[in-house]
């Protein structure tokens, strides 16, 4: 692996939380280190409450570490960066804006040309299959559709990296598979690096090139699994023997 292939480098990060000012500190992240290559999809699984979301918040620049460093493209991360987009567990859309306005939000902040914004928004509406819903407000859409708006809103800024915090966990099984396929389709088009936290072991393996398994708190890495399946992947691989072996290996750590 060449050094400049690495887009994200996590170096011995530590994080403690205190519930209140006087209460004892909780050790959340224990000297975590790993790196992510450009264009790679990396999923992170681990027991509930182990600090997966904290890790994502640190990478996205929303939270500070208590030790160690995060490097994005060889530059230390100190705050949110327009090249790193985030999709949250809940869609977190702006309820007072229409679907189009939500998707255009980031470009409007950047004061892009009106016509450019209009064209780009209409492209992304097509990409996430929301034609005909441009003028709808988020509350008028299903959660799956709202999450597609959130994806479009993040990807329209052409981020090099997409961070996703259990983005499909609130969806039913069919919608989730549809969203996974959509995500892979978008990845195929933009080849952004994806860092993905999930509870769903099947999802973690199906989507990822590499699955990182975290221990319970204070989280450290117990395993890094390279997922060997070729892309594009068909949903049928989840019944493949190799896939099932990986799945039971990961489940073994979590049980």
């Amino acid at each position: 692996m060449k050094v400049n292939d690495t887009i994200l480098k996590i170096n011995n990060i530590e994080k403690n939380y205190a519930a209140g000012e006087d209460s004892e500190k909780v050790h959340v992240l224990n000297s975590l280190s790993f790196s992510v290559k450009k264009g790679e999809i990396v999923s992170i699984v681990g027991p509930s409450g182990c600090g997966k979301s904290t890790l994502l918040n640190i990478v996205a620049g929303f939270e500070k570490t208590d030790g160690g460093e995060v490097y994005y493209n060889n530059t230390r991360v100190f705050g949110p960066n327009s090249e790193i987009a985030v999709v949250f567990q809940a869609p977190e859309l702006f309820l007072w804006l229409t679907v189009s306005e939500n998707i255009a939000f980031g470009l409007n902040i950047k004061k892009e040309d009106k016509q450019v914004i209009k064209d780009k928004v209409s492209d992304f509406i097509k990409l996430v299959n929301l034609e005909g819903f441009e003028k709808f407000y988020p509350n008028q859409l299903s959660i799956g559709m709202q999450q597609r708006v959130a994806l479009a809103r993040a990807l329209i800024l052409s981020p090099n990296m997409l961070i996703m915090d259990e983005p499909f966990s609130a969806l039913d099984y069919q919608t989730r598979i549809m969203m996974q396929k959509l995500l892979l389709k978008l990845w195929d088009k933009f080849k952004m690096t994806i860092l993905f936290v999930t509870h769903d072991v099947e999802e973690a393996i199906f989507l990822a090139d590499k699955t990182i398994v975290l221990s319970k708190r204070p989280a450290k890495i117990i395993d890094e699994i390279i997922v060997p399946f070729e892309r594009p992947r068909q949903i049928s691989i989840i019944a493949d023997n190799e896939f099932l072996k990986l799945k039971s290996r990961v489940l073994g750590y979590l049980m």
Partner: protein
Amino acid sequence: MRNKAPKISFVSIIFPAVLVLIWHLVSVTGKAPEYMMPSPIKLIFVMFDFVTGSLKLTSYSGTFFAHSIVSLGRVLSGFIIALTVGLPLGLITGRLSCIYKIIDPTINAVRSIPGIGWLPIAMVWFGVGTKTAIFLISLAGFFPIYLNSVAGAKSVPVNLIKAGKMLGARHILLFCKIILPWSMPSIFTGMRLALGISWAYLVLGELTGVNSGLGAVMMDARMLGHVDIIIISMICIAFWGKLTDEVLKLLMRVFFPTLGDDKI
């Protein structure tokens, strides 16, 4: 819900109709003397004259619009002052815990002083007259706007702020594009409460030292023994209070279509 404007049913008219009927009977039979409670029919005539000036029944004949405009001007000036101070201060206080800790306890302590308790000191500071009325109105309107702006700004979900930051909105943009619109339903509630209370404090402010406005008409009529005009002024204030509330709701519906029909 839309298309479901509350309909006034026949049943809900019975009660006020019976009350007016009893009122009428009590006045025509002389059980209540004219100087304490004029009959509803007389009130209708005096009201008509107060608005149009065509009957010359009282010395207030035809002065409805002149007094209303003065009162409306005071209410709106006070309301706008309350809004310009209360809204930004509330939003900032709601977002920055250090400022919240510094000023919120004091504001809440000051809030517990009843409005009428401010009248004497306001008269010392501003003299008797319009300034005192506007001061009282803006003071009264400030609290509900401030409190509801604080509540709105405090309730912005953490991840919504993160979403805004991730899309490049920082500082003032974050305030204008996310915190303000998110807080709008709450702010709107505060504005409606403030506008309602403004009319109450208008009367307080106009009771002394001014010779125009609906509150002044009331007080003047009391001294001249015009009970009919006192009651009519009360009705006029109710009318303007309701009308300004409806206009505020209409403006909100036009500018913030997603505020939710249940809120408006």
